[in-house]
Amino acid sequence: MSAATTPDMSGSANKNIRRSTVNRLSADNVTLAYDQRVIAEQLSVEIPDNSFTVIVGPNACGKSTLLRALSRMLKPSEGRVLLDGQVIQSMPAKKVARTLGLLPQSSIAPDGITVADLVGRGRYPHQGILRQWSTEDERVVQESMAQTGVAELADRYVDELSGGQRQRVWIAMALAQQTPLLLLDEPTTYLDIQHQIDVLDLCAELHEEQGRTLVAVLHDLNHAARYATHLIALRGGTVIAEGAPNDIVTAELVEEVFGLRCQVIEDPETGTPLVVPAARKARTEARTGAEKVAATEAS
């Protein structure tokens, strides 16, 4: 791989700034709220460098909100989000955009835009009014398309692609931004199972082969357990558990976080935890004789 696609790993050059953490990205005692509606209070999260961190939790637990705060889309009402030891809101917008990329859930492909043009827009934070399209931009766009397998679609219109192809194009755009940190908000939503795996494989590749730090919000607990190197389980705006999936995913944790009775077995393919929800009958019985069932399950 050429030097061009390797993200800048050097971190902040400014030595005068006190670094409160060793990791590049963290949330420090943040309170997150939309207007008056508080989603999370005094939440602290560390994103380990070079990890593939996945945030899981039930609907409305604040996982997307946390991702919005980490990507400076949402300003914490209290506390701060730190990037390379600096408060993220105080940094120049383009500088943050060269360090931290975000693939949001909803993105709009402009009418009549081609794949190459859309991917090229990821170069914006590296450009200026007198430096609009360098040879470097050209090369990075080509490489981003090649990495995501959309190079042969370069001249096609984005509107006419399938959902899976379109998601790859958006990921290519985020890659063209060349950020060492990449945040993805439910990148597999609306995709069929084959394309879900396809996108997750691509993420794993970006993490393993290029050493990028990835943070993703995922709905599917089994996907999360299989792909994450670091898992953060959220419920009601609080971190219930965090760590490697093999260490933390247990039936008790799933019940505590999702309120779902289940068995956790070993994934026959990867050896990672596999969550198998209890049968409907078992769960109905559980509701009638909760204590008794809990005792037998635990044994």
């Binding site: 889309m73 993105s107 709009i108 827009r121 931004q177």
Partner: protein, 345 residues
Amino acid sequence: MKTNRAVRTPGGLSVRLDVRALTVVLLLLAAALAASVVLIGTGDFPIPAGDVLRTLAGDGDAGQEFIVNELRLPRVLVGLLVGASLGLGGALFQAVSRNPLGSPDILGLGQGATAGALVVIVLFSGSAELVTVGALVGGLATGIAIYLLAWKRGVHGYRLVLVGIGVSAIVTAVNGYLLTISDIVDAARAVVWMTGSLSGRDWDQVWPLLMLCAVLVPLVLANARELRMMEMGDEVSHALGVRVERVRALLMIAAVLLTATATAAAGPVSFVALTAPQLARRLTRSPGPNLLPSLCMGAALLVTADWVSQRVFGADQLPVGVVTGVLGGVYLLWLLVTERKAGRI
């Protein structure tokens, strides 16, 4: 299909050119200027195009010089500037709202300016200069009202359009009331103003427009790349490092100023702001706000419409707004049908 070319210098500077868009801009500019020359030659004393050019170069006879430089040139210049401002203002509104219907015509900025002008005409029987000021104030006030009502956490597609339609309905009612209480002379004057007309425009209208365009056009174009990113939604553009709120506020202020000033100078010439960006986009076939092509298209459209209104219907009798209204109305219907077929409304 691939029309983007990058021009690079050894010093590391690079500029991206869309060849097709550039060609469209040059052709539209040529069309606008050609139409202007023809328009200057049109009237009670027809002047051949050759003589018009010679006179403009300072080489005509005294009579032609008076007609061209004092009577017709200012009118044509106002037409060009008003068209350009409306085209650019419309492109900005449509790009920020991400909706072809989010243009000043639909949002009621024209009605707002009309209300300001009517207040001056009906309540104070004010001079032409005061009418201009009234229209400017009315347009700006409407722009601020829409901003305050629709801008909570950014514009969301049809929200801006719906708020604009509401504001527009209220202001139209006020305008109707003002007309019913006016006497017949004021009412006739008001109606001509409300249709949008270029007749009787002189150098006094040219200078403020020219100065405003000289400031705002470069300012807007300097933010074109940011606007292009904002097409992909607030989240993506924010993640790319665009300061979305700031750019949006700046561009909206510029768009309101451009539209309000154009309306103050020529009356609410309808549909130019709506149609120019869409027509320009169909010619360049390129995504993005198409700011410069829209500006040139607006200028070409308005001058051509003015020529049609003089040529086809004779003398100064038909205000240019009638022609743009008919053309734009047909276009709006077509737009609604195609948008409906595409499932967007």
